[in-house]
Amino acid sequence: MTLPGGTPPVLQLQGVSKYFPGVIANEDVTLDVRPGEILGLLGENGAGKSTLMNIVTGIYQADAGEIILDGYGAEFASPQDAIRAGIGMVHQHFKLVPAFTVAENIHLGWSETPKWTSKAVLEARTRALSERFGFPVDPSARVESLSAGEQQRVEILRVLSREARLLILDEPTAVLTPQETRELFAALRAFRATGNAVIIISHKLDEVMDITDRVTVLRAGRNVGTWNTADCSPEMLAATMVGREISRQNLRVRSGDAVGVSDVPVMTLRGVGVRNERNVPTLSDVTLDIFGGEILGIAGVAGNGQRELTEVLTGLIAPSSGVILLDGASAPDNAAAFAAAGVGHIPQDRLNSALAPSLGITDNMALREYGQPPIGGGALYHGGAARSLAEEIATTADVRIPDFAMPVRNLSGGNQQRLVARREIRIADRVLVAAYPSRGLDIGAIAAMHGYFAALRDKGVAVVIVSEDLGELLSLSDRLGVLCGGRLMAVLDAAEADIERVGLLMAGRGGAS
């Protein structure tokens, strides 16, 4: 839409700075968001995107600089102030009450919720809102029963119902299927068309190219620049974010002194099946050989047996049928024994299943090695040795840690992932199973992670990578397995696999090879 000249930006930041002890989170950030545009905010993990958005939404207060709203100076003492001013944010981790219905979540903590009301009224109001903003939701459904994409719609609808004119989305597509992503983008374009503005934080450059009008890149807390998306290319944006050129290595090429692919499989699955607590099969009849010195990719739409496969491969659950062999012998029956046998595991939800969020870095880094010297040995646990191990892991992971007793949840998601990855790589003598290893990481960290995997493969370790990103899988894997409905549809030679074929297999067609 065309705007009359002199329309002020919806939001303008001038010289905004925010300091934490020992760290500059943001310094002298100046940017503006105009009515009727979608602004992409890019930057590596820790570049200051989240802090900046927390300042805009009133969670933090800036140490210096000005926030200008519609041409007038504004100061947000609390998130409520920002919401009242028409700024709404959808966080990466949804802030919904799982046990409440959609209608209850929409009306929770809202001044316009009628004081005396009934379920039917709330649901009718929700239905009206849903039609008005074009976000279809089922008002009576419980949030815990919704998919990630549906929950996100509820979250966005809640923000929009507070009359938001500026919508901020933090990595909105990280949990969405391609179909849900398309729907979200269509809704965002409709929102933009009515003169509203959107700030979208994303790591996925092709999506940024697709949806945004302009792009602002942050690096080390500072604004590096703002460009019209039409003038950008993904390569140029990646280089700007990182501050150096990222060459897309062909990771399938082995280094000169690499150990080749082993002749006998390190791990073998024969007719492995898993049933869930309701006795529904979630993994059926999987037969698979995994060889040392190869990277095996597992593709598939999320929820098609990936979790069960990774848990079977790492001993977290015992298969309800079939056998697993580790180095030709029958595999042990618990996760600790798998780890002791050299099976590392980078799980999907690292903060809750690979780390104890409230404990310190040291305790968390000792998780895989506390049973053996120098930390363990007999019944003892040597805190000093655990500390040295934690320091060593932090150094190799390139994570700077101010205090090793600090709860690990205070680290950023990217740093948590690096620490978990290095901890698991240390023990992975035979197999490393990594689920969605690059989710939530920036380009530099993803490249580093892929480098780790390639190095591990060159040492003769079998690496199993579960991912939704076909590009990632095809550039890393030697072979590519495709899961659909709990079945292993096929295992392809990745060098010859074409995306069309893989796509068909992911949809459950053209199996058996």
Partner: protein, 354 residues
């Protein structure tokens, strides 16, 4: 420009300083309330000081109060490490007293043999008392707060029945207690028995077990996150059971000390809330084993002050009010300790800092 900002961690020194301030505030509030009631606060204060830390008699009393609190406080702390609450310290205390009294009354021999036997029996009884809640928690996910709490009332009634029924004192004909035990823990200083230094030793030993054994590490991890314990293949159920059994044994040992060191007989109501006050001690200690020592000292002081106030015709419930006030102010102090003034320091940003 400087302002206060909340930090995720607070150093022990800051917490200590804030808590000291909280205690001063608590003392001031108690003083003001007493003054408003028309009491002579100066005179009361002098009396309290003399009869707690100002005299040998007062110090002996403090140590006597502290001995069971050290153990019941540790009992709750052990389960806190596992992410659980043992509210049943009172019941396990009673069962420890029953076990100890049973051996003391009916097995005869030299004290050097009988006393360890009493301790062993007490701990076994305490463990048996918490075994059901522990198994229910580990295998069926039954909330241990409810089960341990309810068993307290059963234990209390069991002791009343024993002390007034089958085990009642047939020598003096007293109706409210068992006969006097022939053996007792020797006194070391006035009326203070060797259970006091032993209690301190047990707390220190427990701290070492928690921080420097594999078991302690596994309990710490399992207590912080069940998901991670499963991921690492730790035997979570066994850790729940063992931590709860240890907790029950500690609380029961407090009962044995009380029977064999202070009361010398089994009588109804003898747990005297030591089991429940153990929860307060554990909360004050913030899950740290060593901090149980100062926390127990503080709790013993409050109990002692309560007795002094009672002799001055202040209601006995004043102890509860003071305990509540101290807990509230300490909780506020702990939160305040997380706030520090910050001035924007110009430091190079580190990419990897969170």
């Amino acid at each position: 420009m400087s302002r206060f900002q909340r930090f995720p961690t607070a150093s022990p020194r800051r917490i200590l300083a804030c808590r000291a301030a909280a205690l001063f505030v608590a003392i001031a509030i108690v003083g003001l309330v007493l003054a408003a009631c028309g009491r002579n606060v100066g005179e009361l204060g002098r009396l309290v000081l003399i009869s707690t830390i100002g005299s040998r008699f007062g110090l002996e009393d403090l140590a006597l109060f502290m001995s069971p609190l050290l153990l019941t406080g540790s009992a709750v702390t052990v389960t806190r490490r596992m992410g659980l609450w043992n509210i049943g310290g009172e019941g396990q205390f009673y069962l420890g007293a029953v076990g100890a009294a049973g051996i003391g009354l009916f097995v005869h021999g030299p004290a050097i043999l009988i006393l360890p036997l009493m301790a062993l029996a007490a701990m076994l009884c305490g463990m048996a008392w918490i075994a059901l809640p522990a198994l229910a928690r580990a295998f069926a996910g039954v909330n241990e707060i409810i089960t341990t709490l309810l068993l307290n009332f059963v234990a209390s009634l069991l002791v009343y029945w024993l002390a007034t029924g089958p085990w009642r004192d047939r020598v003096t004909g007293a109706l409210a207690s068992s006969g006097r035990l022939p053996v007792s823990i020797p006194d070391m200083w006035g009326v203070v028995h060797w259970g006091f230094p032993l209690g301190l030793l047990i707390v220190v030993g427990l701290a070492a077990v928690m921080s420097s054994t594999r078991w302690g590490y596994e309990v710490r991890i399992s207590g912080a996150s069940a998901g991670v314990a499963r991921y690492a293949g730790m035997p979570v159920k066994l850790r729940i059971i063992s931590a709860m059994l240890l907790s029950g044994a500690l609380a029961a040992l407090a009962g044995m000390f009380e029977v064999a060191g202070t009361v010398h007989r089994l009588q109804g109501g003898m747990a005297d809330n030591f089991g429940y006050l153990g929860i307060v001690v554990a909360v004050l200690a913030r899950g740290s084993c060593l901090a149980v020592i100062p926390a127990a000292l503080l709790m013993a002081l409050i109990l002692d002050v309560g007795i002094v106030l009672q002799t001055q015709q202040v209601a006995a419930t004043a102890v509860l009010a003071i305990t509540g006030l101290v807990l509230l102010l300490v909780a506020i102090a702990d939160e305040c300790a997380h706030y520090r003034p910050v001035t924007p320091a110009i430091v190079r940003p580190a990419r990897s800092a969170s």
